[in-house]
């Protein structure tokens, strides 16, 4: 196990280095400069400013500078938000995104599992069809449609919840529901099909033959196995949602990180592009790593190291 973890950690660092290098050079292919007032500046004036930021240096020099700073843990300063450290910017903005994402994933997973469970138990019943319809709708209708509807009906027309802001729990209800729709649908769909497969397998039949109650079969035997694909799914899904949904954050005025990434690319804010990319990459790699370890916990059949056979 320790050997496995160590090996994986090395791979993770290498992966990150490759990502950082690739992103850096690809980003430099973007035409234009990160200047905010580029439209109004003459080329001579632009030169003065680019010189100051070292953006006129040859690319390899810039790369070495950036990587050296990166190893010191310095992500640099933003161009668009004058001289604001990129690490501070990410820190400030990830909070709301992560909070909301966490809430949505937890809520969505619970509801999704229940829906999938009910559908599987009562296969081909009205309940099953209803759950499937919900799942299909949830996957095919984009979340911003739900967001818009929720906001209009439950904040403007019937002001039960506030329209948009980030002041407390009541402000998170509508965006959480809007975000969780996709989670609910995805989880419910997987849950149903996995559970059906597990329920028809031999060992469940054996359990039934032994006279174990259906409740025990469900909770102790079927559910545990059916959860494996859900966990595979949940890792990346959680990262996706917790790193911010651009559209939902825009609609509900949430000060999250979703917009930041897009905006940094549009404005050539080099340091922020790098910072956010690396941050996303680290999150993703770490989550995939955790998921791999979790596999073993849930299902001993999946071995982490091929050594002991």
């Amino acid at each position: 196990m320790a050997k496995f973890v160590f090996k994986r950690l090395i791979y993770m660092v290498i992966t990150l280095l490759i990502i950082a290098t690739l992103t850096f050079f690809l980003m430099k292919l973007l035409p234009g400069s990160p200047l905010k007032n580029q439209e109004k500046l003459s080329p001579a004036q632009q030169e003065i400013i680019l010189d100051k930021y070292g953006l006129n240096d040859p690319l390899p020099v810039q790369y070495v500078h950036y990587m050296a700073n990166l190893f010191k843990g310095d992500l640099g300063l933003s161009f668009q938000y004058d001289n604001r450290p990129v690490s501070t910017m990410i820190g400030e903005r990830i909070g709301p995104s992560a909070y909301l994402g966490f809430q949505a994933v937890v809520f969505g997973t619970i509801v999704g599992i229940i829906l999938g469970l009910l559908a599987a138990i009562r296969q081909n019943s009205l309940l099953d069809y209803a759950a499937t319809t919900v799942a299909v709708l949830g996957i095919s209708i984009p979340s911003f449609v739900f967001a818009g509807l929720l906001q209009y009906y439950f904040a403007v027309k019937y002001p039960i919840f506030p329209v948009a802001a980030w002041e407390g729990f009541e402000y998170t209800v509508l965006p959480t529901i809007a975000l969780s729709v996709f989670v609910i649908a995805t989880v419910a769909r997987y849950m149903r099909s996995e559970l059906l497969e597990v329920l028809s397998s031999d060992y469940i039949m054996l359990a039934r033959a032994k006279g174990i109650s259906s409740f025990d079969i469900m909770v102790k035997h079927a559910l545990r196995n059916a959860l494996i694909p859900i966990i595979t799914l949940l890792g990346p899904l959680a990262v996706n949602i917790m790193t911010g949904s651009l559209v939902i954050e825009n609609i509900f005025g949430i000060p999250g990180i979703g917009q930041q990434f897009v905006r940094s690319i549009m404005t050539n804010d080099f340091t922020v592009i790098m910072g956010v990319t690396l941050f996303y990459s680290v999150l993703f790699i770490v989550v995939v790593f955790i998921v791999d370890i979790l596999y073993g916990v849930i299902d001993p059949r999946i071995r982490l190291s091929g050594g002991k056979k």
Binding site: K36, Q38, D82, P96, R122, I141, Q151, I251
Partner: protein, 552 residues
Amino acid sequence: MKKKSYALFLVLLLAMSTFLAACGGGGNDSKEKAGSGGKGSDKSDNVLNLTETQDIPSMDSALATDTVSFTTLNSTMEGLYRLGKNDEAVDGMADGDPQISEDGKTWTFKLRDAKWSNGEPVTANDFVFAWRKALDPNTAAEYAYIMYDIKNAQAVNEGKMKPEELGVKAVDDKTLEVQLQNPVPYFKELLTFGTFLPQNEKYVKEQGDKYGLEANTTLYNGPFTLDQWKHEDKFVLKKNPEYWDADTVKLNQINTKIVKDTQTDVNLFESGDADLIKLSSEFVDKYRENEGFFTVKESSIFFIRMNQTKSEWLKNVDARKAIAMGFDKKGITDVLLNNGSVVADFFVPEEFAKGPDGKDFRESGDKYLKTNLKEAKKHWEAAKKALGQDTVTLELLNYDDDLSKKVGEYIKEQLEKNLDGLTINLKQQPFKQKLDLETKMDYQLSLGGWGADYLDPMTYLDMYVTGGAHNQQGFSNKEYDKLIQEGKTTLLLEPEKRWEALVKAEKILLEDEAAIAPMYQRSRAYLSNPKLEGVLFHKVGPERSYKWAEFK
């Protein structure tokens, strides 16, 4: 189990019905409500709620470049003068008009007794420090060039002189003397621009890199102070009791929420959580009859650049005139924009700069290149003859936002229909990429815009001098160059003659040369709480002033 399935069915039904309802009659529903305006009508607490699409990029006046920064700085700080009604410069830190020397090059300002929010007095040195800082190349200020009218400013900014050599000095604590390179007649108004705001040297040095980054690492001397600044979420301004003119300020607090979605903006207005919002074109018809609906003309002019270096056709003046007159501009302003924007048959905008006679520049100047299909066709035929070709394909470079795309497609359709043998290919590029192509002059036609930096026609006209940094289309006319040069030098002390020269220059640019094809002057549609009064809208620098705003 039966009960459970019933409940689930209900949930499903609800989900379905909300979805279907939205597809069907959502529009009608909202129309009934539209008339009611903002709720929460009790405004006796004088708290103004606003939205902004973007956070404040910088509270350091030397670094600010955008409207959000300039507007917030305008509320929380004060320079020698500030923009008042009709964009006239009214007293700020300066106590009365400046003393101007005979040659117009030495301006002496007397400062009033005013305090920073930490209790320290505002002194002449605060201006000297801030201006030197803005021009110091190490600051990398992107609006440094706005100060180039001050003696030695350009040399300082280019690193050829030390910041101490800048033509500005504190004679004593309350007297500031400024030497000008050129005695520009609009210098007093120019001083209202954000880059000219003072900064307290001691405080700024104490804060170091943190200055302007947080609410509590910035000093204020304006009508309001920045009380709370939650990045990317909201910022809160509170009335500044230390402000010298605090009696005039009626609002106690201004909350600005960052909202990036236009529909959310409208919803916040409907629920009474916002008192003043910008309306995008698609909402204008719905709210046009609303009591709080109004439009404000801005100084931005949108036009088609015609690059004379990349096409034989665009080198031909007849072809350029045909293009400039060959499309219906009204279709853009009335249908596509629908927000009060006006057709531009000019380059220097309306209601923008007043001449020495007190009249608007547009009253002195004429209208040029009006839409005229007959004339356009005539010029087009002449161009064909001169070039000996019957057909041509031109590329139109465009921004990639929704509105610009629509405008681009409209122009293509109009020109192809009206000018026989012309094919237009549209090329949409992200903003930065488009700028890059323009700088490299790697385009044929391009939809462009230009906003004013200061209240003088020169902010538009000096763009098109031969070899100018923003000419970017190979336009050159000797007489035009001469007129602009005179307007910037010899005629500065003869305002009437200067004005005539500028009128003449615009005429050459458009009527004689058709260097560009003006399309429209932009306006913005707003929706406001009807009780809100006294918000001033400006054409340069800050978008709005709240110093005189109140709820009636």
